[in-house]
């Protein structure tokens, strides 16, 4: 008698274990998208502090810091508004931190042909109070006196700078009205490639960011005239217009 009731209990437990987490089964089949950023200067991988670079105006400079936010990443189908979105994903790409140079997010299965993202932190997050993670003000990408995020930042030195220690600093931010330095990047994958997302697999999109784009097209930024930008405004807008063209997709790898 005791045996049979034990048996009954074990059967019940087995059913219980099997059934208890049925609700967790995913509704969609998901794969992963990985974005990898390679920071470059005119065709060479960026080296902080050690390398001396030359801008289009023959001014030489070094780079000690290079950081930018990437957010609102979306993959698009050809001619269809359906997208795979990196929802609530805010990523700080920091040249000094190798682990920050790539990030992944989950996406539904499908073949995507376009990629778009925001360079910076959208205006809503700028006015939504204290944030954490990549948006923690500890990341040194936040203005405390005119509250808002620095979208992209470069610091370094140049003999052409008239500042103490030949410092150059470009902190580009501003999210509202005429001072909005947010820039959208949208592009089609090269050579007719697609990002084919398959369940349990990762598709990698490799991008290059060329810092030398910051100096020119459409706006000339000469170090001798403009060695510093640390507020939202006209100069920040000019630099943002220049760097909005710094990204190139160099490869798509469907693992």
């Amino acid at each position: 008698m005791i045996r049979s009731s034990n048996f009954f209990l074990s059967v019940c437990s087995a059913i219980l274990l099997l059934s208890s987490c049925v609700g967790k089964a995913p509704l969609y089949i998901k794969g992963k998208v990985k974005l990898t950023f390679r920071n470059m200067v005119s065709g060479s991988p960026m080296a902080l502090n050690t390398s001396v670079y030359t801008n289009p105006f023959a001014e030489t400079y070094t780079i000690s810091k290079f950081k930018y936010y990437i957010s609102n990443v979306k993959l698009g189908l050809s001619g269809v508004p359906t997208t795979a979105t990196d929802k609530d994903g805010y990523h700080l790409v920091d040249q000094s931190l190798p682990e920050s140079l790539s990030f992944s997010f989950e996406a539904d299965e499908g073949s995507f042909v376009t990629l778009s993202f925001l360079i910076g932190v959208d205006s809503i997050r700028n006015v939504s109070g204290a944030q954490t993670g990549a948006l923690d003000p500890l990341k040194d990408m936040f203005w405390t006196w005119n509250s808002g995020y620095i979208m992209a930042k470069m610091e370094g030195t140049s003999p052409q700078s008239n500042q103490a220690g030949n410092k150059i600093e470009y902190h580009i931010g501003g999210f509202s009205g005429a001072n909005n330095a947010l820039r959208y990047v949208s592009s089609i994958y090269p050579n007719g490639k697609t990002v084919a997302i398959r369940s349990g697999q990762t598709s990698e999109i490799i991008l290059e960011a060329d810092f030398n784009k910051w100096w020119q097209t459409p706006n000339d930024i000469k170090i001798k005239d403009l060695p510093v930008c640390t507020t939202p405004g006209v100069l920040a807008i000019k630099v943002a217009d220049n760097y909005s063209d710094m990204f190139r997709i160099v490869d798509v790898v469907n693992h």
């Binding site: 049979s4 009731s5 109070g129 204290a130 923690d136 003000p137 500890l138 005119n146």
Partner: protein
């Protein structure tokens, strides 16, 4: 036997219900850690407008969060040398402004460049600072903590100091349920405290509620106020929270252009936020740089001192404001009736240790 099967069935069913529930929600685990903050309610005084946004929507107001914010507000460790808590420039007896100081005194014998504003009814204020540079109450403390003329500290250092204090670790855990102290939690706790400071119990409020009556002078002052000041200093907050140029001469040393420093727009040159006038008898000196030491001087400015040739001068002030000597006296009587003793003596807002 039947009885045992019956018992087994009961156990099985209860276990099933428990497990299904646990798959649905994750908060059973959270509850197990003893995280039970006590919710507080933020009330809008009768007859007041709703705040423009709900500052506690993504920062649920709790007793634990409020008390943590209160401790932080009064703690000198938030400053570089330990001498400058938030409360050093925001004193309860001065309605959380700085009593009698034109500029706040900061770290290393420095002066700030503006007069410290009073802190109350912040839930109605969309932008902080005289120039509106701060767009959310939670972000506000970052400015004074890191400003070299104020608390002169880094957020990183503040967190290090808090993290080695076991009482803070306990309080942060009680308020937010986590073991790690983050800048976000610190800022949210401070916002719970400062956002809770309300002022709605002045004599003016008692009169509005039919619980008291103005003296003749106060009533005359109130009537003068309604015809001459109310457009910008709108009741019941006594500010419309707009930015205006009230015709003060540019200080040659400070060169403070106000709102223009935030927007970069020349049309905003010399504009500053219209301050609320509640508790105004305690918040002297007045104006963004504290250049007027008495209400009498302030009223004198509006009737005779406005620099009327400034391009961005508020259109309402282009002819200055006609105020008789008697009205001036009555206006001051009325303004004194905006002092809120309940706020000044509320022990919930006082130093906790």
């Amino acid at each position: 036997m039947k009885f045992k099967i019956f018992i087994s069935l009961i156990i099985f069913l209860s276990a099933t219900v428990f497990f299904l529930d646990s798959c649905k929600k994750g908060d059973i685990i959270k509850n197990d850690t003893g995280y039970h903050p006590v919710s507080l309610k933020f009330s809008v005084p009768a007859g007041w407008p709703q705040p423009p946004t709900d500052i506690f929507k993504s920062n649920p107001l709790t007793e634990e969060g409020f008390q943590l914010g209160r401790k932080l507000f009064y703690d000198g460790r938030l400053s570089k040398d330990g001498n400058f808590p938030c409360a050093s420039c925001h004193q309860q007896f001065a309605a959380f402004a700085t009593y009698d100081h034109q500029f706040s005194h900061g770290s290393d014998n420095t002066f700030g460049t503006r007069n410290a504003p009073a802190l109350f009814n912040l839930a109605w204020m969309k932008e902080m600072h005289w120039d509106g540079g701060i767009k959310h109450i939670e972000l506000q403390p970052l400015a004074p903590i890191t400003n070299i003329n104020e608390m002169a500290e880094t957020i990183d250092n503040v967190l290090k100091k808090l993290n080695i204090d076991s009482s803070y670790k306990r309080m942060f855990k009680a308020a937010f349920g986590d073991n790690t102290i983050t800048s976000q939690q610190m800022l949210k706790a401070l916002a719970q405290f400062t956002g809770s400071i309300q002022s709605y119990n002045s004599k003016y409020d008692q009169v509005k509620r039919g619980k008291a009556s103005f003296t003749v002078a106060e009533l005359n002052g109130y009537n003068a106020f309604k015809s001459k000041c109310n457009t910008c200093h709108t009741e019941p907050l006594f500010t419309d929270n707009s930015f205006r140029n009230n015709g003060l001469t540019l200080d040659a040393f400070l060169q403070d252009k106000g709102r223009m420093g935030i927007t970069g727009d020349r049309n905003d040159s010399l504009k500053f936020k219209v301050p609320g006038l509640r508790n105004v008898s305690l918040t002297f000196p007045y104006m963004h740089d504290g250049r007027r030491f008495s209400l009498s001087q302030v009223i004198e400015h509006y009737r005779s001192g406005i620099e009327i040739n400034q391009p961005t001068l508020d259109p309402l002030l282009k002819n200055r404001i006609a105020i008789t000597n008697q009205q001036k006296i009555d206006l001051i009587e009325f303004l004194n009736a905006l002092t809120d003793q309940v706020l000044l003596q509320d022990k919930r807002f006082a130093q906790p240790f």
